[in-house]
């Protein structure tokens, strides 16, 4: 049986809360201290296809843009920042304030979103690395534009319909700017071996924190 005990899950959620909180703090600084609301992180062991289906449903099937980084080290996987396409420009405008002329926005939008992703995803990964006291290497951020279901990499074993059978640990959290219609998702996908390693590192962190 895959998964974690209730206590392990609680500890993992706490570590994720710290990491996502660090990312939210970074976003807060980027948008002039506007409050960033976060949902509780949702952690599941499901197939990649099911993860993609859920993401598709949550984004209402609308076109989405995402920034993805692959990471490796004590744990490995993919971490993504995902926005409904229609709302991403609002965030970019907030972030750039008056540093870019409006006519240049379209050209800059992609680069700006990549930089938002770079900061937020690294805030997340960096705080996890610091808690684990182990370095995590990450790739340069990559920009993706697709439906929510296509954003997740579907490589791996698939059934006759092409649906991925690989089981992964899928974590996602929704965030929103309190005073504007800007929302998005942070999502992380790890294979089972990495998920187990992640659980072990969380356990080590908790033991260390309580002096065990």
């Amino acid at each position: 049986m895959l998964g974690f005990s209730e206590l392990q899950r609680d500890a993992i959620t706490e570590v994720l809360n710290i990491a996502i909180g660090r990312a939210a703090a970074a976003l807060n600084q980027m948008v002039d201290d506007e409050e960033v609301r976060l949902s509780v992180p949702c952690l599941d062991f499901i197939s990649r296809s099911e993860a993609a289906r859920r993401l598709h449903a949550e984004t209402g099937g609308a076109p989405t843009v995402a920034v993805k980084q692959c990471f490796a080290g004590p744990v490995a996987g993919d971490i993504l920042l995902i926005f409904p396409e229609s709302r991403s420009l609002e965030l970019v405008r907030l972030m750039l304030r008056n540093t870019a002329p409006l006519e240049a926005m379209t050209e800059l939008e992609r680069e700006a979103l990549v930089e938002v992703g770079n900061v937020l995803l690294n805030a997340c990964l960096g705080s996890i690395a610091n808690l684990f006291r182990r370095p995590i290497d990450s790739s340069l951020p990559v920009y993706l534009e697709a439906g929510g279901d296509a954003i997740l990499n579907l490589d791996g074993e698939a059934d006759k319909e092409g649906r991925s059978l690989d089981t992964v640990m899928f974590v996602h959290v929704e965030f929103a700017l309190a005073q504007r219609d800007v929302r998005g998702y942070l999502a992380c996908v790890m294979d089972i071996a990495s998920a187990q390693a992640f659980g072990q590192h969380v356990e080590d962190y908790v033991l260390q924190a309580i002096g065990g």
Partner: protein, 123 residues
């Protein structure tokens, strides 16, 4: 200091643009040079006096720590910082070991001006 010269090294054009904007808001008469890679920065700096350098870490080609090490050797009078989204303690330690400072992104007025307002070493 009267007029300063600042070098920004970052593969993100947006990041350079934001940083330039902060610098010029506080120091409108300063000169801001930009490079999109470590290699470009090293070539750009040859024979040029630079007061401040802000260098990203994760870049294609030469990484920021290597770039900072090389530029510190060629420009010992410059105040140099890593300016990066990679906030891991290991990167902070590399900055310390290299003898440069560390600023975590996102870019804010306070962080950039806090760095620039310290002046250059020995002044």
């Amino acid at each position: 200091m009267a007029v300063g010269t600042v070098l920004l090294v970052d593969d993100s054009r947006v990041s350079r643009m934001m940083c330039r904007s902060v610098i010029l808001r506080h120091h409108p008469d300063w000169q801001v040079l930009e490079a999109s890679s470590g290699e470009e920065a090293i070539a750009l700096c040859q024979g040029v006096s630079i007061d401040f350098m802000l260098i990203d870490v994760n870049m294609p080609g030469m990484d920021g720590v290597t770039t900072a090490t090389r530029l510190k050797a060629s420009h010992p009078g410059a105040r140099i910082t890593l300016l990066t989204a990679n906030i891991q303690d290991t990167i902070r330690e590399k900055a310390r070991a290299t003898g440069v400072e560390f600023i975590g992104k996102p870019i804010t007025d306070e962080k950039i001006e806090g760095f620039l307002s310290q002046g250059v070493p020995g002044c």
